[in-house]
Symmetry: C2
Subunit: 338 residues, 2 copies
DNA sequence: CGTTGGCACTCTGATCGTTCGAGTGCCAGA
DNA sequence: TCTGGCACTCGAACGATCAGAGTGCCAACG
């Protein structure tokens, strides 16, 4: 176990490096932090920290920089979550309150988060699988062509075209619409399948094919939409990454275009708490020199989706975590209101 | 007017510079192109071209590079549009044919375009103002609460919640729905307003308020959605931009996040033809060192939206233009089919 | 008049050595 | 266990030199 002072030294190194972006040496440390010991002592501590793998030197006789392991310790033990200032909080609330629909909420959130953290922001659309059905509508477009419209309680709308195996009368349509709605409105998506399973049986033989098709499409929509959408923003902040540009930035841009990768990344967030993945802790190779801070959000204690930021491992963890958490909370509130 | 050979020299310079990314000198030119004259002659021609502003030297005694004006001349007079190879065409078609809905079409298009041109691709969603109404649906969610669902012929769905000034019976609702649809289905959005103006008059006094509200919401939806959505992709290709990274790339990334800027950019495309904006021809300052190639697409001779790519001024214009045009055509076909 | 070969000139970029300074490791002493 | 001192290392910055590519100009030629 590292002594109190060594941890203090590590904290100082992380803070300085995050601020200056340059390797930090023993002398500079003692000058900028009131450690109460001499540079020589700090040097010894640094030697230990290096041996333990918390810090490293880019080349002999330069200062030290934190390793992923060092950041990990910093985040876990040394750093709190820095709460936002109250003007910041007010600004967040004002900005988000202006949103007019779900797209707008997500759009504003992503811009807000990017601006606040000065990093790349990723916001997942509220999940359908956790949502409930507000309404299912069936429209007849042609004798054997229907449109299915699904409306969720989060305000999202999905529509599908359906080619019926046989013509389907207006009466049957109204009937199906009514029965369907009476069974599924207010239900969670995951609960729907068993509730509609026996519906075809109660229809005339000639309509059963169509009813089955409609149900199949409905269920398919629920499942398909479980692969959820994302919005990202603040990519311009990538330019503040480091000196060795193209090499670092390219894989990150590539990763950001892979929805699957991002979803997995966010998915790693713990249900309730905040998740911080540092450097090589990220499964995706292109993000080995970045850290991801993510958290779930939702209304009323229920997580409906996640959001987070992607930035260089050399980031201001307390500040970023504070911003991410605050934004998640306010978005949850907004969703609860609407 | 420039002589034939001088134009030929300009063409050679553009081609070489696009290929090598390095200033091109007189000697190298005569070696790589069969111009039939000596380097000295080429030097004279270059001097003239420089005086006319078509090319420039980064510093004294280095090769020449084309100016924006030079690229402009190249595009207008010297370069054709390079058609894609037939394997490429087949690949495009196969890839786009797999799309399942509108989002997917746009998503695939943007990825395709980015990959084909190795640049940043921008695709605008098919415009609502040019679209026609396929169906308008009204749902009663609560006694005084309606939902309006608008379905377009391009498969897009928009929905709005409406709070009615007074309760609205099922009979009136069905009536309104029927009349509304009989008037607007198949109509272009821009033609809708006069067609529904007198609808409230034909209803009972107590329902007129609600009918007006519904109509107002409908018209509002048409207008609001005229501010259209975009999808972008291939941002990782920005890393191939140039050597002086952060400075060039940052404003581009910023521009790409400004939907308004991008829409304006695409909007500059001529109705029918392809538009190429080179360097400073772009109104937006951040894009002064990029070129934008855009074109409208649509089904049946009608332009419903635009798409294009953003890349360095030093780009392969014939190839890029060929790819953009081909993709636009195939997307138009796909839209016509669905 | 357009084209050509020759020639002197001018820069940039690469290479190399030197220097400077920050930072380290180690050791002896408090 | 901490501290001050000291020798050492190594990278970044600076400057001088050099080679090469490319230019502009000129005189000669068809």
């Amino acid at each position: 176990m590292l002594s109190e002072r060594r941890l203090e030294v590590l904290r100082a190194i992380v803070q300085d490096y995050v601020g200056t972006e340059e390797p930090v040496g023993s002398k500079a440390l003692t000058e900028r932090h009131r450690l109460g010991v001499s540079p020589a002592t700090v040097r010894n501590d640094m030697a230990v920290l290096e041996e333990e793998g918390y810090i490293a030197q880019p080349h002999t006789s330069a200062g030290r920089i934190p390793t992923d392991k060092g950041y990990r310790l910093f985040v876990d033990k040394l750093a709190g979550v820095k709460p936002l200032s109250s003007p910041e909080r007010r600004a967040i609330q004002n900005f988000l309150d202006g949103a007019v629909d779900l797209d707008d909420v997500v759009g504003r959130t992503v811009r807000l988060l990017a601006q606040l953290t000065r990093q790349v922001a990723v916001v997942q659309y509220p999940s359908l699988t956790r949502s409930t059905v507000r309404h299912v509508e069936l429209l007849s477009l042609a004798p054997a062509r229907l449109m299915l419209v699904l409306i969720t309680d989060t305000g999202r709308v999905e529509q599908r075209l359906i080619d019926c195996p046989s013509p389907f009368g207006e009466t049957s349509l109204a009937d199906l619409r009514a029965r369907l709605n009476s069974r599924v409105v207010g239900r969670r998506f995951t609960d729907v399948p068993p509730l509609v399973q026996d519906l075809p049986e109660s229809f005339e033989a000639e309509d059963r094919g169509t009813v089955s098709t409609v149900l199949a499409t409905l269920l398919e929509t629920l499942v398909e939409e479980a692969e959820e959408r994302l919005m990202i923003g603040g990519t311009a902040n990538l330019t503040r990454f480091g000196h060795d540009f193209p090499l670092t930035i390219r894989p990150v841009l590539e990763a950001l275009e892979e929805q699957v990768v991002l979803l997995k990344l966010l998915g790693e967030a713990n249900e309730s708490g905040m998740a911080v993945r540092i450097g090589h802790e990220n499964a995706y190779e292109g993000l080995n020199s970045t850290s991801v801070v993510s958290v779930g959000y939702g209304s009323g204690g229920e997580t409906v989706a996640k959001l987070g930021v992607v930035g260089p491992t050399r980031m201001d963890y307390p500040g970023t975590m504070g911003a991410v958490r605050a934004v998640a909370r306010y978005v949850g509130q907004i969703l609860a209101e609407s």
